[in-house]
Structure formats: C-alpha cells, structure tokens
C-alpha cells in the first residue's frame, strides 16, 4: 500500500505542477505579458492549494475513497482546462475570470491531496519518515514536471494534448488505487465507473485535439496559435511569438505587430496630409482598427465610418486586450462608427452620404468574390461616395511580385475618372507593397510634410515611395470589370509563379 500511495504522490505532484504551467503558458499566449501572467497564476494556484489544505480537516471518514474521488476530479478539470480555455478565449470579457477560476479549482483540489494522503498513511509510517517521504516524492515530481514541460511536452505534444495526457495519468492513478484497495475503499464500484468514464472522455479529447488543433492549425503557422475561430465568413487565426503578434485570415497574413505601422502609416497619411479637408472618412475593410488608429492622430476628423464584413473581426479588435494595445482601442472611439456589412452592397445602397477620404483595405484579389471589389463598377461607387475634392486610397498588392495586378488596379481606377498617385513602401512581413491614391477634383497636392508622431513616414521617405524602379514600371493592362475579372487572372498567375 505504501508504495502505491507514494507513487501516486509523485504522479499527483507532477500533474499538479503541469496544470499550473499550462495555465501560465496559456495565459501569456492569450493575454500577453508573460511575467504578470506567470506570477499571478502561480500566486493564485499556491494560495488555492492553501485553501485546499485548510479544508482538508473537514474530511473525517473514508479518506482513501475521497482521495480517489479528488484524483478523478483533478484529472477531469486539469485535463480539459487548456481545451476549455482555448475554446472560450473568444468570450473575452469573462476570460480572465474563467482562467483564474479553473486555476483556483485545480489548486484547491491538489491542495487537498497531500494532507489527506498524510492522514491515510499516518498509521503506517513514523511521522518523520512520512513527512520526509511524501515531500521528497512531491518535490521530485515537481522537478520532473518543470523540466519535461518546456523541453518535451510543449514542443512535441502541444498544450492541449499535454493537459489531456496528464489528466489521463491522474485518473489512471485513481483507477489503480481503486482496484488495488477495492476492499478498503467505500463506493469502489461507483468510483471505478466514474474513472473509466473520465478516462474515455479524456482519451477522446486527446485523439481529437491532435486532429483539430495541432494538425490543421498550429502546424501550418510558424508561431503558436493563440486564437482560432471560424466566423461565417472566414477562419480567423492569431499567432504569437516572443516579438510579434500576427493575424491570419484564411491562412493569409493580414499584419504582423512587428511592422504593421509601416503598412498603415503608408496607407493613411499620404492621402490625409494632401487633402484640404478631411472631416468625414470612410474605411472599407480594415476591421482590425489599425488604419483607424492612424486616422485618430488627426483631431480635425469629425467622423470615421468603418464598414467591415465580419463582425467577429471587429468585435475581436474591440475586446481583446492585446489587440486593444495594438490598435489603441481605436474602434471604441466615439468618432468611430462600425458597420458590419458587405462593402459593395453597402456602398450601392448608401448613395447620399459623401466622404472626404475613403480608405480601401480589402484582402488581395485572389478569388472572384474579392475580385469584384477591384472592378470599375466598384470604383464608380467610390467616385460617387466621395465629395467633390475627395480622395481614396487602395491597398493594391505588391507591384514587385504582381506588377500586372498592381497596374491593373491603377488602370481600372483611372478608367472611371480618377487621377491616380501610385506609391509603394517596404513592409518586411509583406515585401515591397503597393498603394494607389485615387484623386477626385483638383484640390489634392502631394504632401511636403507629415505629422510628427509617425515612426516611418516623413518627407524624404515619401519622395522615395513615389519612385518606381525599372522592374516595377507601369504596365499596360486590361480594365478589371465584373464580366472579365482580369485582375483575378493576373493575380493568380503572378503570385503562383512567385511562390513556386
């Protein structure tokens, strides 16, 4: 009996620390700031263990049965904790509460274990011996856990599998004890049934977690996936490594926190600084609020209307605190009105309203659905939605990788009556990236100065951005129309050649 109980101390200790590490790691993945997350998680966990130890005195009888019951519960809660946290991360508001609740619960249950075990063993060992053995196994378990977690478990198994695995281990201990001491344990058959049910559940989780998380998502991204959700429109994935946060939509990189300021400064300021008036601004796409963040650097703006198809994106960027740090809470600003609608349909039906500046930040025209948003028909709606001397800027893929696609956008914009100002900027995550400013009326002038609180743009930089070297020179292309979708054909060809 002694040996089995001491072995279970070892397993319980390992599992307990693993749950704590998982919670800490997940919290820093999902919420950022690993120092704070780890300290608070460890603190809460240890404190909860104290609560558990305190309450252990209220367990008077059937100690072994209670110990087994606790093992099963710890296994269930600890084993499913990371899955629960991953899945519920999108309920951002209650996420911290949920996180600390799970940590406390695990802590309390683990805290109950050692005192109970000591009392179970107290008549079988001398007190000195008892204390020495139990804590030796406990600390060895802790050492093992703290070594294998970063070196083996996280790299080879991933968080979700690790937690299911240790959950199973926990419950297996319970089962073994149950079988071994069947005669001494009250409600042995009930506990056995329970533990088998929980093992099946955790096993299923173990098998499916592999399928769902590890294979489809994490492996296809270079960094850790910290958020993944399918909205009705797209797959949204956030990944994080030590220095950058990245957003992927349907597997395509939308920004990296490392250099997105380059992209967004280049998108917003050349238009804003050259316009005489910019009272009313419309942003199409750009549900990440990063272009809006740049816009809010101008106090003179009166209204910003953002139209993005996907409510899941705008809500994520309104609620998640890591993302709020990045966009400075721009979508929550009172000047900003967020509308979740299809941009084409919205523009077609909202004709009376006109804007000084329109920022068009759509995904690249990689398919026919998105290709519609780069057609002359669409740009005619943009023209109509601009005030007499307004302008629009269009993110226009890479003029280096896809010159035909880029210049096709330029040609198409010109075909509906705009004058254009093509420019490009180097954004390391994307490459050499292109923009086209579409100018209506005569009031726009190329800016000489830029506001001072920018990290990338200034007068000299912008002068360079207007120069297109020989390998990016203007090319003759078709006009992209709804009935030819020329750009989708250019884009497919150019990018597939580049990527292979």
């Amino acid at each position: 009996m002694q040996f089995f109980l001491l072995l279970s101390v070892f397993v319980v200790a390992t599992c307990g620390l693993i749950y704590e590490l998982i919670a800490g790691t997940l919290a820093s993945y999902l919420l950022g700031d690993s120092v704070t997350q780890f300290s608070t998680i460890i603190g809460v966990y240890l404190f909860s263990m104290g609560i558990g130890s305190f309450f252990s005195k209220y367990f008077k009888k059937n100690l072994l049965a209670w110990f087994i019951q606790l093992e099963i519960m710890v296994g269930l809660i600890g084993g499913t904790s990371s899955t629960i946290l991953f899945l519920l991360f999108e309920e951002v508001e209650s996420f911290r509460f949920l996180l600390y609740m799970l940590v406390s619960l695990t802590g309390i249950l683990v805290g109950l274990e050692i005192p109970l075990l000591m009392r179970i063993l107290k008549n079988k060992l001398e007190f000195e011996d008892l204390v020495s053995k139990i804590f030796t196994y406990d600390y060895i378990g802790a050492l093992l856990a703290s070594l294998i977690f970063p070196l083996v478990l996280v790299p080879y198994m991933g968080l979700i599998k690790t937690s299911f695995f240790f959950g199973i281990l926990n419950v297996v201990v319970a089962t073994v004890l149950c079988i071994k001491f069947e005669k001494e344990v009250k409600w042995a058959s009930v506990l056995k049934t329970q533990s088998i049910a929980v093992i099946i559940l955790l096993l299923a989780g173990f098998v499916y977690s592999e399928k769902i998380m590890a294979f489809t998502e994490s492996l296809s991204y270079p960094d850790k996936v910290i958020y993944a959700k399918s909205s009705p429109y797209q797959r949204i994935v956030l990944t994080k490594n030590s220095k950058e946060l990245r957003l992927f939509l349907n597997g395509n990189l939308q920004f990296s926190s490392f250099d997105e300021y380059r992209y967004h400064e280049a998108l917003v300021h050349p238009g804003m600084q050259g316009l005489q008036e910019h009272n009313d601004v419309l942003v199409l796409g750009g549900g990440d609020g990063l272009a809006v963040r740049e816009l809010l650097k101008y106090n003179t703006i009166k209204t910003i209307t953002l139209v993005d198809l996907d409510g899941a994106i705008t809500s994520l960027f309104k609620n998640n605190h890591m993302l709020l740090d990045l966009n400075k809470g721009s979508l929550l600003d009172k000047k900003v009105k967020v509308i979740n609608a299809d941009a084409f349909k919205w523009l077609k039906e909202n004709s009376p309203r006109q804007f000084d500046f329109i920022i068009i930040d759509f995904p690249d025209p990689s398919n026919y659905s998105i290709g519609k948003l780069y057609t002359d028909t669409f740009y005619r709606l943009i023209y109509r939605a601009l005030k007499e001397n307004g302008a629009a800027v269009i993110q226009s893929t890479s003029p280096f990788v896809a010159p035909l696609s880029y210049w096709c956008i330029d040609t198409t914009i010109q075909s509906v009556g705009f004058k254009t100002l093509p420019y490009h900027a180097f954004v390391p995550s994307f490459g050499d990236w292109g923009y086209i400013l579409a100018v209506k009326g005569t009031q726009y002038s190329i800016p000489d100065n830029f506001i001072s609180n920018l990290r990338f743009l200034n007068h000299e930089t912008f002068q360079q951005m207007l120069i297109f070297p020989k390998d990016m020179e203007k090319k003759k292309t078709e006009i992209n129309k709804l009935n030819n979708q020329a750009i989708v054909h250019y884009f497919e060809k150019e990018w597939s050649e580049y990527l292979h």
Binding site: I370, D376, N483, Q485
Partner: protein, 525 residues
Amino acid sequence: MKAIGATMVASSFSCSEKSNDIPASIVGASVAIGHKLRFDKIPEPTLIEEIDTIIVGGGVAGLSAARYLHKKGNHHFKVLELENSAGGNSAYGSNNISAYPWGAHYLPIPNPENSEDLFDFLKEANIVTSFNSKGLPVYNDYYLCFDPEERLFINGYWQDGIIPNFGLSEKERKEIKDFMLLMEDFRRRKGMDGKYAFTIPVDFSSQDSEFTALDKISMAEYLKQKGFTSSHLYWYADYCCRDDYGTNVNNTSAWAGIHYFAARKGEAANASQGTVLTWPEGNGFLVKKLSEKLKDKVISNQLVYSVKIENGKVLVDYLDSQTHKTHRYIGSNCIMATPQFIANRLLDRSHETISQSTFSYAPWMVANITIKEFKDRKGAPLSWDNVFYDSKSLGYVNANHQNENTFHDKRVITYYLPLTDGDPVAERKKLYDTDALYWRNHIINDLSQIHPEIAKSIENIDIWRWGHGMVRPIPGFIWSDERKNARQSIEEKIFFAHSDLSGISIFEEAFYQGTRAAKELLNKS
C-alpha cells in the same frame, strides 16, 4: 472503440436518411386548368365587355405586343394570362436567399441589325445605358454576366468554359477547333440576297438555298457529312441543341444547330462578343421590365377557351379560374400570343386543312434547389453556368451569381433537364406521371456524381414541369410553309404572335413576333 464504431454507423445512416428528408414539391404551370381546354364543357359566358384589343397569352410575345401598343398610345387593351403571373417560359420565383428563374435565364447581347425595337426596350429598361462614340451600346455592368461565366466537369476536373478540352486527345481538339472555325465562317457568311446566312430574328436570314438546304438534315447528319468523328464534338453539339432547343443533335435541324453558333453578331462598348446579359431571376427581369407600365392591363388566372369572329367582331371567351365565372370580351382585334397548338384549339380550326403537325414542343423539368455551401471538386471555381459532361441534364446555373455581395452562405441553383430521350409526347406523359420525390431522387443522384456529399447541403427542391417548354426546330420545320403560313392574320382581326412562329424559342424572337403582330394590327387601321 465500440462507441466510435456505433457513431459512425449511425452517421452513415443519417446521411442517406437526410436525402429522404429534403423537402421537394411541384410548383408552377397550371396543367390541370390548361387541360380543361381539352376535356371539359364550359358554360356560356355571362359577363360581356367591349374593348379594342385582346391579347391572349402573357408570355414574352404577348407582353412585347402589349408594350408596343401602349408605347404607341393605344391603351384600350387587356392581356389575358392563364397562370397567376405573366412571363410564359421566362417565369421566375424567389425565396429569402435569392430570386431565381424557372425557364429562360439570359439574353446574349443582341445583334445590331434589325433590332431597333429591341434596343428601344433595352434603353427603357436601363439595360443599355448609352452608346459610345462608335455607336456601340454600353451595357449596364450589373447585368453583364460576371466572370467566371462557365465551367465543365469533365474527366474528373472542372475546366474553364464548356467546350470540351481537358483530357482530350490532340486529334479531338483539332476537330473541335475546325468545327468552331467552320461556325465562325458561317457567322460572317451572306447569301445571294445579301442577307446574313444566319441571323436573329430568323426572318431576316438569307433564303439562299445553299443555307436553307441545311434545314432538311439533322445536325448529327451534318457533322457526319463534314467528316467529324470526335465523340466530344458530338457531345458539345448535342449539348448546345438541348440547351437552346430542348432537342437532341439527331432531332435538331442542321440549320438551327448552326444558327446557335453563327447567328449572334452583337457587339458592345464594354463587353466582348458572345457576352450574355443575365439576372438572378433570369429573363423574369425582362418580363418585369416589359410589364412595368402594364400593371392594370395584364389579368392573370384567366383561361381563354374560345376565340371566334362574329359580325366583324372578335369574341374572346374566358374562364376566371379563381371565381369560376365565364366572361366574354368583344373586341375589334385580337393578338394570339399563344403557342400554335393552343391557338388552333381556341380558334377551333383543328379540322382545317392547314397541317400544323410540324409544330412540336419539348418537355422540360426545371428545379430550383436551395443549398448551403457545398464541397467542390478541383479546377475552375463555381461559375454562373456549371455543366457536367456525364449527365443528361444541362447542369445548373447559380442564381446568386449576379449578386454584388462577396459572400453567400446559401444559394439557389437552377437545374435544367430537357427530356430529349424519346418522342416528346411520350416524354411529356412520363413527366406528368412522375412526382416530386421521383425528381428529387433523380436530381440528387445526378448532382452526386460531381458533388458526392451534396445531399447534406440541400435544404429544399422545387420542381416545375414544362409540358410544352419550347418549340422544337426539327429538320424541315424552320423553312417549312407551315411555319411561314401560321402567322397569317385572320381577316386582319386576329393576329399571331409567338416565338414558335420563328421556329426557335429565344427572347429576341418572342419579342420580335409580339412587336411585329402589334405593328401589323396598328398598320391596318
């Protein structure tokens, strides 16, 4: 493991049960009311009203005649329509996902010649927005078929376009290319009379016997005579005949078969040759535009059962299928905008010596399928027209295609099946003897060939049975005296307007025949 096994068995059961759960129903064409014409004795009319002109039939020809009369300031007329809404085989429907067609669903950009009236209409409807400096029409961008237009599932792959290409041998590709060049040549050819060999309206085509002789043989015989052997070319020619005429390659005249390829010469400022105009509700859009100013002129649910001339007046007797009361219009004129087999019955001239046996009509089954996102095979993405090589159907059209939205979680697809296997009379009987479940299973089986799990995505299937979907241009018909004579007015009081008078059932011909009949009527007075 046992538990998992059991779940899998259960789910595979539920999969096949799922297709049995898909609701399917038959909607549309009032066959039962229409058939009253053949069997029932109908009481003498009780209510009598006088009017200038009665138009019998609210299909495209009838509405085009009505539009023209209205445009010329003649407002004292009514259009009597059997169904509960006008449109004929350009009928349409809608649900909360999309509007969708029940029949004709596109209009190729029209030929510049002999189409002044048609262009007038297209301008009224804002389909043509202006003309450029070269005089070419500028079409409304929202109505030109969006790219990607067509794809064909062949040899396990969706290829772009519907002319078979993927996986074909060089020899076959060359044959198809030669055939297309031959058709291109016909497109430009003119006859001794200076007219285009093939044009629209058919009336304006050359009567040079070099070309009209082609009407005597079938399209299949023509291909054989030209030495073509490629089975894929025969498939393509067959597909085109079934698509436009509801008749297979063996029963379509070579003149009509070539007309499909060679008659269209439309050009546009903002579209390439051969581009089509289309709308979610198909040609239902054109029907709405035609009848825009005719709101109180078209009376639906009216079964006309007799048209005759007495004392110099035209008497039109009809039954209101809602109230079951019979009425009579006494008019100065009447335009019969019905197919000829109906016109003959209404005029009670089946006993007359003029043989009308050459007029025959193709039965069709059309289904509108409401569907969630479904898995697609490799190749070209979902297009407007999606055809599959190994199917008797013409494939399906995506009704949501012309929607500017970038995202659809559900769509309506329209599945077309002309019944061309046997004699049309037998096929028509078969069509009416089968029920919604039969067609549901047929459609699911057919679609499952290319989309294996499609049953899981289908939410609803509505079925429309067209007993007489369109006139069949069988060999000898288009240049027959019967067709030519059928439009002769009766005492300059009863005029005839229907696409079957052209021999091919397309919007332009119906529009032309309706407008022509209205002009004849106006010219005599």
